[in-house]
Amino acid sequence: MSEETLSLTLKVWRQEGPDSSGRFETYGLDNISTDMSFLEMFDVLNEELISEGKVPVEIASDCREGICGTCGCMINGRAHGPEKATATCQLHMRKFSDGDTIVVEPWLASSFPIIKDLVVDRSPLDRIIESGGFITVPTGSAPDANLIPIPKDAADAAFDGAACIGCGACVAACPNSAAQLFTSAKVQHLNLLPQGQAERWSRTENMVDTMEDYFGSCTNHGECHEACPKEIPLDFIAYTNRDYMKSKRKNRKLLGQG
């Protein structure tokens, strides 16, 4: 623990609502402890704004432990800021230097319309889950948990996809605003498990098609992986592309047109 403090200049995107035009506002902050988290620095800013009679900045956060996926903004042009594998709430001010100017913007993607200031609407991610991100197992109908042994490697690989926290940084970091990393993490979490096989092909087709309704196309930049606080592997995108191609044929076969 250090006891240093920083003086900072913040350029923060302010926007009243989805249809208003926004602008950068500049704020000076002194005595920011390097032990503070980035969001606690915003708490300080908002306290100061309130005491000056100015409307505080809306910035989303909830668990502040890097697991709920509520927080996230562009910090100096990077989704979740400069520290790798770290969500905005886990970024601490010791990663900045005295005198820095920090530019803070909301997630940049037209699929995520701005609600106010730094808060965006990420509901298209829920629409993708709704279209197939589940295993159909009504409550009470599951067999004994140890009935199907799952090779540890498969279980671990599925887990790497399941670790996605749905923050949307992958979309915000992508020059095309594509949601391939999110979607493929969710698809492969279930597709890699034996329990997920029955719906594998319909799931893949439905989720990818829903994704296409809302988001841009992937051109393999890999920025998503760089921005991801959980370091979801890019391999999942390749697996999902493979499954998607297969699904087109298999789903047609199921309809008797194969």
Binding site: E40, E47, P56, D121, D126, A155, I165
Partner: protein, 640 residues
Amino acid sequence: MIGALDPRVPDGSIAEKWTNHKFDMKLVNPANKRKFEVIVVGTGLAGASAAATMGELGYKVKAFTYNDSPRRAHSIAAQGGINGAKNYQNDGDSVHRLFYDTVKGGDYRSREANVHRLAEVSVDIIDQCVGQGVPFAREYGGLLDNRSFGGAQVSRTFYARGQTGQQLLLGAYSALMRQVSAGSVDLHTRTEMLDLIVHDGVAKGIVTRDLVTGDVRSHTAHAVVLATGGYGNVYYLSTNAMMCNVTAGWRAHRRGALFANPCYTQIHPTCIPASDEFQSKLTLMSESLRNDGRIWVPRGHDEERTADDIPDAERYYYLEEKYPAFGNLVPRDVASRNAKTVVDQGLGVGPLKNGVFLDFEDAISRHGEDTIREKYGNLFDMYERITGENPYERPMRIYPATHYTMGGMWVDYELMSNVPGLFVVGEANFSDHGANRLGASALMQGLADGYFVLPYTIGNYLAPLLGDGKLAEDDPVCEATVANVADQTQRWLSVGGTRSPDYFHRELGKLVWNYIGMERDKNGLEKALTEIPALRDEFEKDVRVLGNGASLNSSLEKVGRVSDFFELAELKARDALEREESCGGHFRTESQDDEGEALRDDDNFAHVAAWEWGGESGNAIRHKEELTFDEVALTQRSYK
């Protein structure tokens, strides 16, 4: 006025109660289920599992969350695991043993019949979650792995790396989204419940505020289910998420629902201490760290040396000295209270002297750094990210923090509150954990209530209502409740004071922590009962909420929640004052044995205290539900 509290526990032996009751309950015919509407508030483990299961059964469900997606509920942050009496490890576990451990762990302040049912359905939860694709840890043979957790003598905890909560919530969320897609659940995100609609003494709906547009409106249904979590944020600093609050339950309490055991709070011993005044929350680290870490403080006051330079003889390994049998593995409440004691004595470590050391030096020299990294690497990384200190080189600093609340809305065996039609599930109710919760039991209870208890019991309430319509949404009762909420919102915007809601929340938290924390005494609690209302008066006159009520406004959301925390804090102090015994997570200084350990008073306090709202003047009325223990013998705990 409320008569004697009847928990409506079914007859029969403990092992047969739930089985018999499932047969005795009335059923709603599958074709009639769609005629019933049910509101579920909260979409964490309990709410999402309840909404999904009732949707599958055919009820028309409306689900509400203030988050932007159900997947963000704070169940997601649970790390350790979930208990299930599967006995896969062949080490002698059983439903009865899990039941017994839970009643004992709760220090004999929970309802036996509810706890037994919890243990019974624990096995079904594991099956259900695996079926959904929850990636629990597995052995190389492909079967599920288990570990012993929180001092349990058997390995019954299922876990998913350090994120069991997230994986279980993603399972429940996926089941919920399947029902949203099927049209059986109507999901309302960014929508907060601000009042309960009660008509002729029966819960008929809720009033909500749309957090984006500010629209206040009513929703009516045949039954209302609260799954709104715990009230740990009354302490301001806790391991809860920033938005966790007591508002839904508290507003229901103001409409007549009883609030049980508000003084019961679990304080978790292994959290990272606060670094400054602007600390916004505390981060928990899994208590598995205590398996290898040694807890100590310097013996001398005003110690200036770094940990490395303090010789062993000048280190006070207080848990190992006081509790030779259990040492660093004493239960959560004992570890927490002893940490507070040494810090209060001025022996704390760190710049603010607000922590104790958790030292891995011995474990690293015994097992090697690689072994420790393999076991705890992610926790060590998290610690370093937050504090900037490397725990492989210097001891961690830890301090207790509020983590879970065992108290909550009073419910009967069927999880219905004393207000007919109002059900409460998960952490929001009070029934299963007594005065202290066992590790890995919170996730179990949330999912037990949501998947396997409420979907049965709610049918027993709804069946006789067949043919009854729900209350009209423009009924005068609804309109009056809506107007009340809208007025209140406007009132906060027009106070025009000078300080933020967060300022008052922080100040309230200090009072609650100091007077109604781990250790309480009559004097302190009486002080709390003077100082909390005084601060509340100041809050009501001097709070400043800027912006308007017609767009996203987190200060406006916050101010109402803080207001409810003020009222709850007062009730919490009263409850703690009346409970003149040390029990579970709470130490009443006046109630200790010759060795300074907690002393329970079963003759006078083996009951649930359920409080009835006493109006603005704060004259809450204390009702009792006597607890009887037919299966588990009451003993005093000893860890010496």
